[in-house]
Symmetry: C2
Subunit: 231 residues, 2 copies
DNA sequence: GAGAAATTCGGACACCTGTCAAGCAAACTG
DNA sequence: CAGTTTGCTTGACAGGTGTCCGAATTTCTC
């Protein structure tokens, strides 16, 4: 008579946000273009995810239980399983959400630059401010990326995200090279590895209290020059 | 009658290996130079730690319980608390043990090189073989370093280890620079950050099945040249 | 070999984990 | 307005966690 949990969307093993679609085809006539009920479900997922991100960023993946997350949201732990059928799905959804925001931010920031100097300053400025204001979120990313080396449930999602970040970094380098009459001297993977190391240590140092804004700035400037060469 | 657990050493909050000393002063006459009883305790700690490292490398920090560790050793979980009064102490002891071995290995390996080419080849060869054979141990290190960003019990130990590695890397760079008539162009922290990024991604890629031995080799060669400059 | 100390075991403790399902309220549908 | 779907809560479940302790066993010392 009742359904224990939402039929269709949630039971699917695909983590993609096809839930909306499935619900629409489920609701009945496709001509009902008022997409309200569709968005409502996805909206709540996002709201829950944002609340979860706060707790996750504070406590880390391993130490955060679903009840901790629920406590700092407007709902109880049962509700989490209504919108996410897994802890893993919730976590990957959260991280993907956060990281996609980051990537979009960096993309628009760098695309706006019109000179190489613009790009360099915009990029290093963004990195520094991310390091300072988003340090706790960043450490969550590094935490989950580490966990993904052990929990293969996370592996695929994390790998995909990491590839997106790699692409984003390489777009920055390409743009910088293009504007300064240079070309990349390393492939995207190596380029990303170096920037990632720089950024990871920036975050760790910052969290450890060793402020290093100028060092990070000079590191980025050095690295941007180092991974490109005169064409 | 009996003592619930070892008096002195273990109750101390200092994780340093002063246990041996305390036991000696406890045993009685200091002229009893036969250090057998001293070593026995420390020996068992090492034996336990080595067994623990196997399990930890396989399952990661968060997913490994003390019972898992004990299961793959010759003892039961109760014994672990006899030799380590904390899970944190056991873990940091393990990681410190492993990392110190690594550092010693790299040090001797590089010190033996007599030309810049020697150093380069020895270093990149060691990195590649570590990446391949020790991938699971390395991911444990990255795992625990991430956890240390959340659990302040681990923070101090991990930070100290990270500093040791940073020093080791800079010794390699210094040696390479010296032998090739160059000098470092970055401070130790930035130098380490770049190498660490390279190595971290090498390990991740390797664990993900994307073999990249030649890419790592060329990355190291590039980086060694990049973080030094003609004097 | 007797007595004491060091070691090891196995079970208990209180707590926390993700998952699930039954019950109820609210919103929507005809 | 009746009936159905959706949303959310509460409580239970089975299992796992680190920690601790009493007792049995081994090892050492005189």
């Amino acid at each position: 008579m009742r359904m224990g949990r939402r039929v269709g969307g949630l039971v699917s093993d695909e983590y993609e946000s096809k839930v909306g679609l499935m619900k629409k085809t489920l609701g009945g006539s496709a001509t009902r273009v008022r997409k309200r009920p569709v968005d409502k479900f996805e909206d709540r997922r996002m709201q829950l995810a944002d609340a979860a991100l706060v707790t996750l960023a504070e406590q880390g993946y391993a130490r955060t239980g679903l009840r901790d997350i629920a406590e700092r949201s407007d709902f109880t732990h049962g509700t989490l399983h209504y919108y996410f059928h897994d802890k893993a799905e919730l976590i990957t959804y959260c991280v993907r959400r956060y990281k996609n925001r980051c990537i979009a931010r960096y993309d628009s920031l760098v695309q706006d630059g019109e000179t190489a100097q613009d790009v360099l300053e915009a990029f290093s400025g963004a990195v520094v401010s991310t390091m300072i204001e988003d340090a706790r979120m960043q450490r969550l990313w590094y935490d989950i990326r580490s966990q993904a080396m052990f929990e293969h449930v996370l592996a695929a999602d994390v790998a995909a995200l990491d590839r997106d970040i790699e692409d984003m970094i390489f777009r920055v380098v390409l743009r910088y090279a293009e504007l300064s009459g240079r070309e990349p001297s390393l492939n995207p993977a190596l380029t990303y590895a170096l920037f990632d190391g720089l950024f990871l240590h920036a975050v760790m140092n910052h969290l450890a209290g060793k402020a290093s804004e100028s060092e990070v700035r000079s590191g980025i400037e050095y690295l941007l020059g180092s991974v490109t060469r005169p064409v």
